[in-house]
Structure formats: C-alpha cells, structure tokens
Amino acid sequence: MTDEMAAVFVGSSLRLGMPLMLAATGELVSERAGVLNMSVEGMMLTGAFGGAIGAWATGSPMLGLAIGLMAVLPVALLQAWLSITLRANQIVTGIGINILVLGGTTVAYREILGRHNRTEIPGLARWSPPGLGDIAVWGDAVFRQTWLLYAGLVLVVLAAWVLRDTAVGLAVRAVGSEPRAVDKSGLSVTRVRYGAVVFTGLMSALAGCFLSIGDIHTFTEGMTNGAGYLALAAVIFGNWKIGRTVLACLFFGAATALQFQLPAMGVNVPTALLIMLPYLMALVAVGGLVGRQTAPSYLTRAYVR
C-alpha cells in the first residue's frame, strides 16, 4: 500500500465511521436509560432529508443543518411517546417508524425535487486543524474534512464525560438499571427517558446531515441504507460502553472503506463479505466471544409505577 493509499484509507474510514459514531453515541445514551430505538435508521434518514431540503431551499448548509435537527424532533418525540408513555413494544414501533420515514421522505423528496433528481446541494464547509492540513499527502486526505466531523468528535467526548461524571449521566444510567430507585428519589423516570430519546434523535439527525450535506452533498431515497442498524450493532459490540462503541464505529467505517480500497489495490475480496463484516463482528460480540455482554438491565422494559 502506498503512502497515498494509506492516507485515503484512513481519511475515508474516519469519514464513513463518523455518522455511525454520532448515531451510536446517541443510541448508547438512550439504551443506558433503558429505551431501545430501532428507529435510529429512521431518525438518521429524517435528519439527512431535513438537512438536504433545508440547505437546498435556503441555500445555506448551516440553516439546512438546523432544519435537519428540527425535523427529527417530531420523530424522536413520537418514538418516546410510543415506547415510554404508551409502553408499546419498542422494537415494533422502531421498525414502524423506519418504514414510515422511508415512505415519507421518498414521497416528499419526489414531490419537492422531482423523481430522479440529483441536484447538488450546498454542503458544509471543509476545515482542517491549523498545521495538520498542510502535511504532505496525509494533510489533505485525512485532516481536511467537513467541520462537522470535528464538531462530532467534540460532541462524542462531551457525551462520554456527561454520561460518566455528571449528575445527569448518573440519572440516565440509573434509569436504565434501577428505575424504581430513581422514581423513589423523586426524579421522573419518564422525563429522563424522554430526554434520552430526544438526544438520540438529535445525534442521529446530525449523523444524517453528515451523510447528506456533509459527505456527498445530495439526498437519495433511503440513503441511510442500514447505517442506523449498524449503529445499533456498534452499541452492542461496544458492550454499552462509549469508548468501545466509538472504536467499533471506526472499525465498521474502516470495513466500509475497504470495500473501495481493496479493489483499487487489486485485491479481490467479495464486496458482500466486507459489508457483512460489521454484522458478523457484532454477532461474535453478542455471542459472548469477546467478553461478557452486560446490557442495561431495564433495556426495552417500560417503567410502570
């Protein structure tokens, strides 16, 4: 592998892993609070759609990002209402939301932009940390990325800190492991869980925006294409710990990048094998082959007072 190839590989691994990292961090917080959102996929798609349409309509990618974040709120609140207030089956409602969003965004996109439109949409600016961007070969391929990538890294670190070291984080974790104790302490289990699901929504929307206006500058029907499920797999693979989850996302990103890298290097590996690799890895993880899995004890269980 030449230096240049290695640089491109590292750069694209980061770029492909980032949306997963954002969505998985959001989902991890919610799962620690006891709510499983199968709807991460739908939330990402909503964000991608809102961001793309917003950026196209206003001509400003920043406004697009804001619109993408706003667009996800009804979806996240719907998921929260169904799984927390109505105590509906979290897996069924999540899949329901994914189907609804896939249909809704497809129809709306065709109505707004026409059937097979490939309009270039104004995208988020690229940025590189001072100094790093000037390194020969590596600077451009690795460090010159959408600024959202750097913002995302900061957000992930922030989320890790809040979850581990603050009262809010303690409340989130407690709600997922001992909701009754939280209730007795006078804190509302419902409120904390709503907050966690909305956080998942916002992070997923950021991930979606990263795809549509950060990475490829256009929207295509169902463009998340399973990334949401991959984020869920990353949380499992990460054993519900944020550091391991982030590593899993980077690994999944690298596996995806290899799909494009290996043919370029003349290595003939079936694409399907590389695409299924993340799922296989997650399967091995849940199979207990890489240490014991400890899901939050109240995951997917509604709290009844």
């Binding site: 509906a88 409602t93 497809t106 399907a272 799922y279 849940v286 004890s297």
Partner: protein, 326 residues
C-alpha cells in the same frame, strides 16, 4: 443478570406456544386474496418464523439460497415428481432451521438476546445472498454478455411447485396443501402433546420449569430451529412457487412485514388473517397504484408505518381492557 434475560425468554416461548393457531390461519388467507396470493403466503410463513425472532428476512434468504442450489446444481430435477420439488424445499427447511438454531445456541450458551442475534444473523444472510448471486463461482448465472443480470438461472420446471388448478389466474400451488399439513401437525404437537405442554410451561415460568426438571436449553434451540425452518420454507415457496430465480433483493422486506404482522396479530387467529391479508393487499395494491394512477408506491410504506404505529401504540389500552384492573 438473569432477570435481564428472563423476560425476552418468556415472551419468546409464549409466542412459540401460540404459533400453531397462527399457522392454521395462514393457509386460508392465501385463498382469500387472489391478487397477492404468493405475497401473503410468503409473508404468513415468514410470520411463523418471526414470532420468536426478527430474523425472518435472513431465514428466507438462506432458505432461498439452499433451494436454488439444490434445484439448479443438486440434481433435484432428475428425481421423480414429489421429490423433484420436495428435496429443494427440504434443503431450504434445513438451512433456515440451522440459521435459526444459531440464535438458539447463542441464547442457550451465552444468554444472548435472540432479538439482537437474529437481527444480526439476518443482515449476514442477506449479504451472503447478495454475494452468492454476484459470483459465478456460486449461484450467478453464466455471464454470456455484459447485460447478464446478477441473479441465478431459472430453476428447472420439475423443481417448481405444481399449481393446484389449470387456471393461471389463480396461482395457488401445492404449497397451500403443505402449509395446511404443517399447520395441523404443529397444532397437534403444541396443543395436544407433552412436549407442547412443556414448552408452554417453560414460556410461562422458566424457573419453575427448570425446578420441575425440564431442560430449557435444548427447548430453546429446538424452538428457534423450527422457527427458522418455517422461514426457510417461506423462502422455498417464494423461489419455487413464485420468483423462479434467485435475485439479490429476493427477500426484500418480507421478513420485516412478517414480524410486524405477527406482533400486531397478538396471538389471535383472525388477527393474523386480517393483518396478513391487509399487508399483502397493500403490497400488491401499491404496485398497481403506481402503474395505474401514478401514485408513488412509497405511499404504501407511509400507510404501513402508520398502521404499525397506531396498532402498536394502542396495544396498551387493548391489553388493559382485556385483563381488567389488576
């Protein structure tokens, strides 16, 4: 730790105990909706598998792969008639069963939540399917020119399921009879046998069942094997009764539709009938709607999503009315 895994186990096994009733409902629904006969059949069978797992999509896929491989390259077409389509079907059943049993083994050995493992297995299977129709060394048809589609050859006629009537407008095939037979056997096994009773006991209270000397791990593996086997059979029906050749998007969405139908029906026979027929109609109706009226078929997805959410959301009220105040 144990508490975390008990609930899914209970749900899973209870659902299994209810499977026969739903299976019985599957067959008549096929006849009801002429337009989407095959859709509904596949969907209903996927539904059987999905009662306990969300991996129907994957089990359909491996079932399809196995049936295709045996029908095309296993020499099945040279066999006498019932065997010529029966052997590929059997291969699909075994393949789907093994796929389901993996989740069962993981659950029994490592306590892995079967919802998660079957979902992951499902993705793996779908990509195995994709890979196998992309590679000529596997199932892809020989590339005669650049326009050769990435799909398998059409399976030979003797390996296709025989139609029940000569009229091509009602494409009811022998799968219907097989379905009825399986329904009957499963119903008897689960409702009238000691094994069925044990299964229900394990579902209702695994701790008590274990204390009573029942072996839980083999039961879990067997139940998920059977669930997977029915998923595999659904794949065989889709291939041998409908599509004729294996394509990358072979199982597209049936597994998930089946899951949702199964969960929405909530153990009621008329429920499965109604929900499956509705989803079957929606699927075939959506295609016609796009062709005839120019309405994007994605509208169907919106409607499906809304139905799922409304029914799942109101389940709480329906349950509390049924059970009264506790």
């Amino acid at each position: 730790m144990s508490r975390a895994w008990t609930t899914p186990l209970v749900v899973q096994t209870i659902e299994c105990a209810q499977a026969p009733a739903r299976l019985t409902a599957a067959a008549p629904a096929r006849g009801n909706s002429n337009e989407c006969v095959d859709d509904s059949a596949a969907l209903l069978f996927a539904n059987r598998a999905n009662l306990t797992n969300v991996g129907g999509e994957g089990q359909i896929a491996v079932g399809g792969i196995a049936a295709t491989a045996v029908a095309l390259y296993g020499g099945a077409s040279a066999l006498p008639v019932p065997l010529s389509f029966g052997v590929p079907m059997l291969a699909a059943v075994v393949a789907g069963g093994i796929w389901g049993a993996i989740a069962g083994v993981l659950k029994a050995k490592a306590g892995t939540n079967e919802v998660i493992s079957t979902l992951l297995l499902s993705f793996v299977a779908v990509w195995i399917l994709y890979g196998s129709v992309q590679s000529e060394a596997l199932l892809r048809q020989p590339m005669t020119n650049t326009a050769t589609l990435p799909e398998s050859l059409e399976i030979p006629d003797p390996t296709k399921l025989p139609l029940l009537s000569a009229n091509a407008d009602t494409p009811l095939h022998v799968g219907l009879l097989i379905a009825l037979a399986i329904a009957l056997v499963t119903a008897i096994a689960l409702e009238r046998s000691v094994w069925g009773l044990r299964l229900r006991a394990i579902g209702l209270n695994p701790v008590a069942a274990r204390r009573a000397g029942m072996r839980i791990a083999p039961a879990i593996v067997l139940v998920l094997f059977l669930a997977g086997a029915l998923g595999g059979l659904a794949g065989a029906f889709m291939l041998q009764g409908d599509q004729g050749s294996l394509k990358a998007r072979f199982s597209s969405g049936y597994g998930f539709d089946g899951l949702v139908v199964g969960l929405l029906a909530r153990g009621s026979v008329p429920g499965v009938l109604a929900a499956a027929a509705l989803f079957g109609f929606l699927r075939s109706g959506g295609i016609n709607m796009e062709l005839e009226a120019g309405v994007p078929s994605a509208v169907v997805l919106v409607i499906q999503g809304l139905i799922i959410l409304m029914l799942a959301g109101t389940a709480f009220w329906i349950d509390s009315r049924k059970e009264g105040t506790r």
